[in-house]
Assembly symmetry: C2
Homo-oligomer: 515 residues x 2
């Protein structure tokens, strides 16, 4: 795509066709400014590599707000829509609708409440709520989902990978396998979820992180072709970057050539007063090679150099490598914990593509404002679990006496559960499942949604990526370890209050009897 | 991301950090203009949903060329690089390197040969070859892989899905689950691979396709809340779009409410002289509901309306639905073939995320130009299958007497296999596997790589998406049905000529003995 075409592809028209035809329909009926509420939530945790997550890390909001601020119907958009035809060959969009779109086709009338980016969030909880005129709230659906689904998916993956690596540094290396220019969103989300750095140059700059990297195999190959061998390549690299000397040791033979050559160069650096950074292993049995390389580096007097691992890593591969190191390292005289504490992980493909799944986040109309105030909306699905939770709601997180998050509660907007003497909680679907939490079982109750956008105006200072990382870490620390597990996690509880549950039952009854 | 920041994130700095540090290293050694060759190829077919493909559809080249034409080191790029520091706090990039980057940091010295976009391609065959000065050829690595890996992955998925649907229309609906602004690349690749239309508004326009869609559940919910019910919503939609009336029938109850209401509206349209388009099923047992809906539509006199299916579709889901229709439709008096021929598929998530895998395309240095001409380069991997095929090569596709593609052949650049009396073909890895094709077993031999870019200048008129689709269809028709299979396809043959095989053996011998 030519850069000049990006505005058309990624401005206001970065949405689905049916939103525009629906907006015109509302416009013709005079309904286009009717206030509605849409809830964003996801129905199930991503199933990374056949291992369903127990939590997500929310990301994407700030970039969504940037998009909303910029999107509008300019000349190119209007001209294009004017040229569209129906199957009968007539104009699809009328002039009066296009006039309205040119003047009002922006998001200055939209308000948003949202969970803060970086926080831990759960399935079936509305984590972002949109209110505004139906036509523009509808056009917002696809771009909103696009921003939130992908970044939340990748931030969650990053949090899982970092957890598996015992919080050792995690580098995002995914540009080459990332989905086109979605790469930038992937890097941002990976950093929010817990990656420490990225190899990607431009986006690192924009996000305020220095990019990181080593060198390529091709550098070594070129020096071999010039008759200077791997050692010549390592020396040239060390000379150019004496204080950032991380050497890729697997081009020829990791243990026979790469590590011994790296050690020679580290010794030369040391004599010149520089401290070598370490080595990178990018193929083969990473656990075995890391143990052998650590033994060689230790013996040569470089116990503090890092060993960076890369090559098809994800949370399960890292878990397996650490398990193998714990079992095998002592046999070779290497302290497994010292080795684990010098590891750095470079994760590319399986971080930016998430390994295998998507986030199924949806944007569902929950209420419409009529003459009598907000009126709840419902869609009764053929599957009870997909029947929506209606109306204007508040979302609360309840902490138990250990200060552990124990349940996210969906309540009616009018309820204040902070002052309730006890909480009667209902399973969102199963009629027979309810329980009561008494006040002394609860240490605190926190509203999750924060006013974020008020009629197009941002209410919050943009947070830094580091602040978002900190929110995630604080939330993860307050999550039951069973919910954080990589495989078969406990299911985190999400419940309705009695009031919301009864509203839902009443609406389902009305809808299935009437229609 | 703010639009003004896109140039920094996605211009020349849409690359990995180590390419820039390597480029500076080459610059300091005076090697930066040494001509090199890099080959792009993938090692294995994507493993979509645990079913490895037997072929790929190549996509992404034209957008890569657009990117290369635009990328350069401007003021913001230089300023940013000037601010970067080493771990010791010194400047990372020197002024002389930055001066060179400002003047020569573009792709006007790069040449490319490539397989035409849209064509069927195979594992371990170089399908794009880059030649040019090493510094810029190296900086190109990550953006090149980014463009080609993702679009080829998605184009291939689209070809599989369209094949599974008996070539009935395929609509790409993926914007909401697509990876950020990678959505645009996803739509383009889906169209190249065989999708007929996309729901995504702006990118459809740029690619010259009218966007397609129905309406949302929220439209029906809103009309229900206003007391006008599903029928009121359908009537309003039919009135607004009488010639494009495709109704989403699953908001209340598909067979009890949605289809009967749709039929009433279709009858009203018919009386006004319009032809209803059809219905869309978006939840539940799609095969069963399609059969029942078809029976109802047939009986009401609408046998030609389409039935659009959507909801977590991919090639295996479509295959299953068609199998179920063939088995069950006769039981309900519905002709299964007539039903299959009125189906349209809307595929979102599993098309634009590929369902589960990535394409592992790599960019490996194959040769360097020295005083004696092009010198082959090799990387000996610990796994024999990953050892590179060295040197400056030509790539041929050989068709057998049935005009079926039977093998892709990697040959030395100096060989002309068109005139060879017979072809001695070697397995790329296994020493004992070779065979000889005689002339009378061959109907034709085709060179696959086409001169595409000559020192930054495009040599080909950009093809339309439809031309690319045609290339893919023509290639698929000449592919053995066993290779096209969705599950457990035959492995397509890729071989080396004897000359290339002997070169590889010689280089491996030299490298492992010397180093």
């Amino acid at each position: 795509m030519k850069p000049s075409d990006r505005q058309v592809a990624e401005g206001l028209l970065f949405t689905d066709h049916y939103h525009l035809t629906s907006a015109q329909l509302y416009f013709r009926l005079g309904l286009h400014e009717r206030p509605v509420q849409f809830d964003f939530f996801f129905r199930r945790y991503p199933n990374y590599g056949d291992h369903q997550a127990g939590f997500c890390v929310f990301a994407g909001v700030e970039w969504l707000l940037d998009w909303m601020e910029d999107a509008h119907a300019g000349d190119r958009e209007i001209e294009y829509l004017r040229g569209q035809t129906t199957s009968a060959g007539d104009r699809l969009f009328d002039d009066d609708f296009l006039e309205w779109l040119r003047s009002d086709g922006n998001f200055s009338s939209i308000s948003i409440e949202a969970v803060l980016e970086g926080r831990v969030v759960h399935a079936n909880v509305p984590i972002l709520v949109v209110r505004g005129p139906v036509a523009m709230a509808q056009i917002l659906e696809s771009p909103l989902l696009n921003h939130l689904n992908y970044q939340t998916l990748i931030a969650t993956k990053a949090a899982r990978i970092r957890g598996a690596g015992h919080d050792r540094p995690l580098l995002e290396f995914g540009l080459r396998r990332a989905p086109g220019r979605g790469a930038s969103a992937a890097t941002r989300a990976a950093l929010i979820g817990g990656a420490d750095f990225s190899s990607s140059e431009g986006i690192s700059h924009l996000l305020g992180y220095p990019p990181k990297g080593t060198h390529g195999h091709s550098l070594v190959q070129l020096f071999i072709a010039m008759g200077e061998g791997e050692l010549g390549a390592f020396r040239a690299f060390a000379e150019a970057y004496p204080d950032d000397c991380l050497l890729l040791v697997d081009t020829v033979d990791t243990l026979e050539s790469g590590v011994p050559n790296a050690i020679r160069v580290f010794e030369e650096l040391k004599r010149k007063g520089h401290r070598a950074l370490g080595i990178r292993l990018d193929s083969g049995d990473l656990a075995y090679l890391a143990i052998q390389a650590a033994a060689m580096l230790d013996e040569a007097g470089f116990p503090d150099t890092v060993i960076t691992l890369s090559s098809s890593l994800d949370e399960l591969a890292i878990w397996q490598i650490l398990t193998q190191i714990e079992e095998e390292a002592p046999r070779y005289g290497v302290d497994p914990h010292a080795l684990i504490n010098r590891l750095v992980y470079g994760v590319g493909t399986r971080l930016v593509t998430s390994g295998s799944d998507n986030l199924d986040g949806v944007y569902k109309s929950a209420a419409v404002e009529g003459e009598d105030g907000w009126q709840p909306l419902l869609k009764v699905s053929e599957s009870p679990a997909k029947t929506l939770n209606p109306g204007n709601k508040r979302i609360w997180r309840v902490y138990d006496r250990r200060e552990t998050a124990t349940v996210d509660v969906l309540a009616a907007a009018s309820e204040n559960i902070e002052s309730a003497p006890e909480l009667e909680l209902h399973h969102p679907v199963r009629e027979d499942a309810s329980r009561t939490l008494t006040r002394d079982e609860i240490s605190s109750v926190e509203p999750l949604l924060v006013d974020t956008l008020k009629e197009g105006r941002r209410l919050l200072e943009p947070a830094t990526i580091r602040e978002m990382q900190e929110r995630g870490r604080a939330d993860l620390a307050r999550l039951d370890p069973g919910v954080r597990r990589l495989v078969n996690p406990h299911v985190y509880h999400v419940s309705l209050t009695r009031e919301l549950w009864e509203l839902k039952q009443r609406l389902v009854g009305e809808m299935t009897s009437g229609g």
